[in-house]
Each structure stands twice: as C-alpha cells, then as structure tokens.
Symmetry: C2
Subunit: 163 residues, 2 copies
Amino acid sequence: MILQKKQLDLDFKTNFKPFDRILVAVDEDDSKSSLAAFQYALALAKPNLAALGIVSVLELEDLNVFETFSPEKRNQLRENLTVDLERYVKKAQENGIYDVRSFVQEGKPAATIISEIIPEFKPDVLLCGSKTKPVSNAKKIFIGSQASYLAQNAPCSVMVIRS
Amino acid sequence: MILQKKQLDLDFKTNFKPFDRILVAVDEDDSKSSLAAFQYALALAKPNLAALGIVSVLELEDLNVFETFSPEKRNQLRENLTVDLERYVKKAQENGIYDVRSFVQEGKPAATIISEIIPEFKPDVLLCGSKTKPVSNAKKIFIGSQASYLAQNAPCSVMVIRS
C-alpha cells in the first residue's frame, strides 16, 4: 500500500558494507557464465580479503537413464569434478585470495546449495551464472531456473551473472 | 552431460569488466532492502563512473479494490513516487554519480522493468532488493517472487540484495 505517504529516509551511510563470505556456484555444463561468476567473485573477494567458497553440484540426473550409476562411475565423476574445483581454488589463491574452500556435492544444484552448502559456509552473498540460448526470433531465452530458485530461496544476497 | 571430460579453461583475465550501466529498482513498500540495493548500486557505479538508472513501478493493483482509481488519485501517487525518485537521484549526484536517470512507470514491477525499462536503459546489471518476513518457526521466508522473475527473465546480470 502506497497511499499513506511516509517520509523516505535516504540519510544512510553510502559505503555499502563489503561482502565477507562469498560463495560462487560453478557448473561444468555452463562454463562460460560460471567463469564470469567466478571472475566476479574474485573481484569482490580480493579487495576485502573475503572468504571464498566454490561449490559445484554433481547432477546425476543428467546421466542417460539407461546408464547404470555404478559406484565406479559415480566415483569417477566426483573425482573429475573435485579436480576441476581444485583448479578454481588454485586460481583464487594465485589471485591473492587465501581463505578458499571448495565443496563437491551430489543432487539438484540449487536445492542442494540452499539446504546443505549455505548452512555450512554461511555466505553473505551467493554468485552463480545463468545459461542463455538463442531462439529462432533472434532473441535469447534464459535457462535461469536454477538461478531463479536461488534468487528466491537463498537467505543471502544473490548475484546472477550473465556473460 | 558431464561424462565427456573436457578441459576446463581457467586461463582468463582475472579483472572482471566493471559494469557500465547500472539499473536499480526501488520499491516504496520495501524501503529497507531497496535502500541496500541502492547503496550497492552507488558502490558499483562510483569507481567506474557508470551510468545509473533508478526505476520504481507504481503497482496500482496494490490499491484496495473498493477504491476508484480516479485520475486525481493516480496522478497524486505518481507525483509522490516521482518526488521520492528525485531524492534518490540527488543522493546519487551527491555521491559523485552524475549520469543518473530516473524512471517512473505503472504496472506489474518485474514484468514492466523487463519489457519497458531495460530495453530503454540497456543496463548490463540490474539490482533489486528482496523482502523477507519472519515466520513462526524462527526462520524467515523470502518474498522474492519479483526478484526471482527478474533473475530468470532479465537479459543482463541481476543482483538481489538482502539486507
């Protein structure tokens, strides 16, 4: 309701409190916007010596339904992802960010990040990419359902980076 | 599909390209998180001399259904909102941001921002707040449907600021 005119108080401190704990979600299936989100996470973390968390969630539902999820296959996929995340961690450290952790988890990405990673890492901001794909009428559509779920359900600020 | 292990290319420039055109949506019904989003917009815009757009959408659906939308009432509401946005513009200018525009529009906020304001202002990032409310079990729920719609549908990066 906007009928009752209330005084708008703009007498605030203009220095936004920098983010102290930054969580970035990276997705192997969307390396372009994930990298953009990671770059932005580095840019946010560096001047403030923030703690950086890097999370990737293994979506086993992505696998062809006819494949069996053998323990060996699961382990191999998880190991691949862990190796990739170590490269992100190393890149962050090379850029002067020393408080870095990585998280590898299995499940539905956005729901897993909300229910398992955020309660553990306690970020004040979560960054993620969002895929786009071209459609026929020269526009793009945004495959942002994961990003949208995070924006609606995360208890912290959320930045959806489109590259 | 993540079975085919592809090489992860992290050999990118680590300086994230700063945002050049920043649009912040402010909502009279949610002054706390709107102000946080505005503060962050100032912090983003200032070092980069970015252009800043400030938009507020008058939700006439908020009005009690028994009220008539007389032209006088509409005009009064619109004028109140315009005056408030001028205060945001002035605050931005006082903080050294000189390329500032404000937009007042009527309609459903997120849809209107996507269909009318973004095509005109062409931001590379959109900031908005997101309401929270306490619920009985000592948790909060997030009234983020507008933010979620923006995160999913905006053609640019989206930052949802929770204060």
